[in-house]
Subunit: 305 residues, 4 copies
């Protein structure tokens, strides 16, 4: 069966444009709060490089926690499996910014995608380098994956993250108190706040997602074993305390960000990205989730079938 992705995306775009209950835009920093909830974009990139889009798919947005996937790849590249001594790989059963589980497990975060785990991952990826150096490499990694050099960090967003980052400071100092920070907390957090401020469009993100599936050729950024494992982490923990719901409805590994983006991998089939700024109660893009659910229903790309 040949898929008519143009038609499928058109239909999704039309349905999402008509949606009235669009969730709530994140409001903790002005740069996110001011985004128009009517925005919607989606892109699908096939392994051969073809890209299909709908809506605002070329509009850069703040990828926020989606960046954690790239940093995880970098940290695993630096530390190998020793990385897992510092961060567990289990769903947390708690909100993304909970400190409770961190206390229960003596400073070891549950997975690389809850906030504490992501901070520890950035700390591991720093590996003694200066934050600016790390951020340079991270951008290089993302640009290579996306095949596009015009990807940058929004300094204003990074500054705002820094200004509202007390909960992340609490998490980081808690881990430091348990000996689970290799760099000084302000330095690691500086890198973390900047990493969250990377801006990408759906088109760039969909192509970048392909580093997590087998490609006939093109850049190979991580080994097959590693990409399987990163996909597993995204499937189990990629949507905070709604990861089970995403797996149930979509059935693909994905990672959401509070900016309203979701990056999804359909192994063997495609890289997918969607953006709709309104969030559901668990902090994931409301229409974005619905859009990927529609896409999978139309394409049969669920890994569970």
């Amino acid at each position: 069966m040949t898929l008519d992705l143009t038609a499928i995306l058109d239909e999704i775009g039309a349905e999402m444009a008509a949606a009235t209950d669009r969730g709530k835009v994140a409001s903790y920093i002005p740069e996110l709060a001011c985004i128009d909830p009517a925005r919607f974009g989606m892109a699908v990139c096939l392994p051969d490089g073809q890209v299909f889009t709908t809506g605002d798919a070329q509009e850069p947005f703040s990828i926020q926690s989606i960046s954690k996937v790239f940093t995880l790849a970098m940290a695993l590249g630096r530390m190998g499996d020793q990385f897992w001594d510092r961060v567990s790989r289990e769903p947390s059963g708690q909100a993304f910014n909970s400190i409770l589980q961190l206390e229960h497990h003596k400073g070891i975060p549950r997975n690389p995608f809850v906030n504490a785990g992501a901070i520890a991952t950035t700390d591991a990826a720093l590996a003694g380098h200066a934050p600016s150096e790390f951020l340079g490499e991270l951008l290089q990694f993302i640009r290579t994956a996306a095949g596009d050099d015009s990807i940058f960090i929004n300094e204003k967003v990074a500054k705002s993250e820094e200004a509202t980052g007390d909960l992340n400071r609490a998490l980081a100092y808690f881990m430091a108190a348990h000996g689970n920070m290799a760099n000084p907390v302000p330095l690691a957090l500086g890198a973390y706040f900047h990493q969250c401020a990377v801006e990408m469009s759906c088109a760039q993100l969909a192509r970048a997602a392909l580093f997590l599936t087998e490609l006939p050729d093109g850049p190979r950024l991580v080994s097959a074993a590693r990409r399987r494992r990163i996909n597993a982490m995204m499937m189990l923990c990629g949507h905070y305390d709604a990861s089970g719901d995403f797996a149930y409805r979509v059935g693909l590994p994905g990672k959401s960000g509070v900016g309203g983006g979701i990056m999804v991998v359909a192994p063997q089939h495609a890289g997918i990205a969607v953006w709709s700024p309104g969030l559901n109660g668990q902090g994931n893009s409301k229409l974005g989730t619905a859009a990927v659910e529609m896409l999978v229903r139309a394409t049969g790309w669920s890994v569970f079938d």
Copy 2:
């Protein structure tokens, strides 16, 4: 590439026979405590019905929590999506028998595979029927899936479960106190204790697992949408607080039981069952997990690639 499953299973069987650190056999009831930790069996059943085995693959063992997958299918058949009002579908981030999360969520268990959730699932599947009637239907479901009428409940095991069931009683009464039990607690627990005492061999279980993937023909016990969702639940929550680890190492939906069995689904490819009575620290079969990991490495059946 044609897979030589005979050779692959032979190699796995040989490696597992040689393993010295075999985990700890469950000891809370005598019927499990007396099982020889040296036992090991594995079976792979292809969609066309071909079965490949190694070791004690024809030996019946207590499937225990693996039964929760069949009961979930029955409960969803009875209640449809309303079932999810009674049971969430998120990983718990806690031990399988924790009551903590149940308190936090006011009597709603986190997923159908933690003990509380499984009791609620059995309670839902009872749906006003007598326990004996429910158990008859459950056996019929399993026998149809396995294509084998010689599958029974071990009454002695059921009795022992009942005798050591105080924690499950606590969970059930806690849910009852929050209005989340439809049947009297002793009745629902009676059904639950018996369901855990079903005995099957790896060969039977591997074939039964095929009800969770697409089959060219043969019995179709659940719809495509439903089997995707059951698979999602197994991937996210099938191994208690080591579900992330199983996804990371194996990358397939599976459900373990304290009897040392694991039932695994390789969508499009196979039903898989393994049995080794020794458990790891999280209550999952130690060698069983390792064996499935080997199988997936050899076959490339991970859904994440």
Copy 3:
């Protein structure tokens, strides 16, 4: 300074009669739900036996958790300090019926006054006797303390407690699962539900409270060391998760019940009882607490001064 207790109680009675915000009467069983929230009684009994009262001080009400003080005295009498191997003596920091802390401490309740601890205390006081025998002795203990043989158990209340007791069943089976129940759960709970259904008037309860202070003569039911310790437990844990607030406002050891009663000990000075059926958010009598606060302000009986 001679205290004019008649005048003090008159003033308290008048102020409480005029109060409009009287809290919420417990509604989980019909026998409590139907009590008129306008009822209010208070009694103060001096060590020499003089009793001062105001309002409905002769009206029997359901003492509910106040009974836990008498059972604790009995359990300590039977087991001595070994009792504290089964029950801790720390505030719980949780709601009175929380199961969370029970899980954290592997079936050891935090203190004898949270529900789990009170069930364990009754279980200890049973000490192999039949529930009816235990209840006979408990009534005898209370009657001796109160100097009044007309104190009984309300069977209808006991039946209603039983009918709504699933949460207590959960707590009891949870302790049983951890080996912390000496009697079969239904038997211990039967005794517990009946003990909560004892009915007393403020006058009876105020006199009974004197067993917890030094008396010139009269019945001596517990040793000086033991009564100090029971008083300490009441001070630290007698008002569930509002014990700190009671200590802060009143400064005397006391124990509340969901029927709206509070028994208070003013060491060297008096036994005190108050009854007002409306409860505050923490399950303690709203006006009852306010009344004791007024009494202490007028008498200077706080132990903290």
Copy 4:
């Protein structure tokens, strides 16, 4: 009955000198780790100013968390009862440095004596003043209470606290994230770390404790109502998660510090201080607790009798 306090203290001193199991000296900073566990001192100061001592009662030690009592008095002086909007007054049921309860209660610490609560209390006492100004006033308060101008802060201890203060940083930033810090975190923590480094002898501390009971004359630092309430807080929460045990064994309001000191108030009777550097499992002075227990048994000063 006239008490022979000289004889009583001699006996206590002799028994404590002979004790072999002396607990474990705190080791998280070198200044505490190096203290000789054989040290022991005790002082009792009567309302008329008479002081009785035994052992190293004139030796200054690090009062650590005992300082929280003085800061609480100052914060209440500045804010009045509004203070209790920022800090609850219930026992925590958790370790002194737990962050769990802080999450559950959205940044409101359980009481002024757990670490988070003490940091919030210092933050409240700062009230916009510079830390040095606050510390000057705090020292003045303590010196006035102790009637002794030779009480100082040990700068080396303050520096060490600062160097090992990551857990306190986590607590403070967590409260800041919930809007419960009035001053910048580093500033409030600077004041907090210095306050913990005040050094006093048992003799000084026993006299200072008298500000919490009625005095015939002499300085009156807090009102009667306030000292009752501070005493109540010490009784309920003064010994972390062993407050119930201290109430049970001693029956007096007291506050312990990790330096091995305990300050105790016997209302109407005496101010008491004890110092023995070895701690029990809950972080309170092991022999110190035993010594106060002996003293109360000999004097009958328990408030519960």
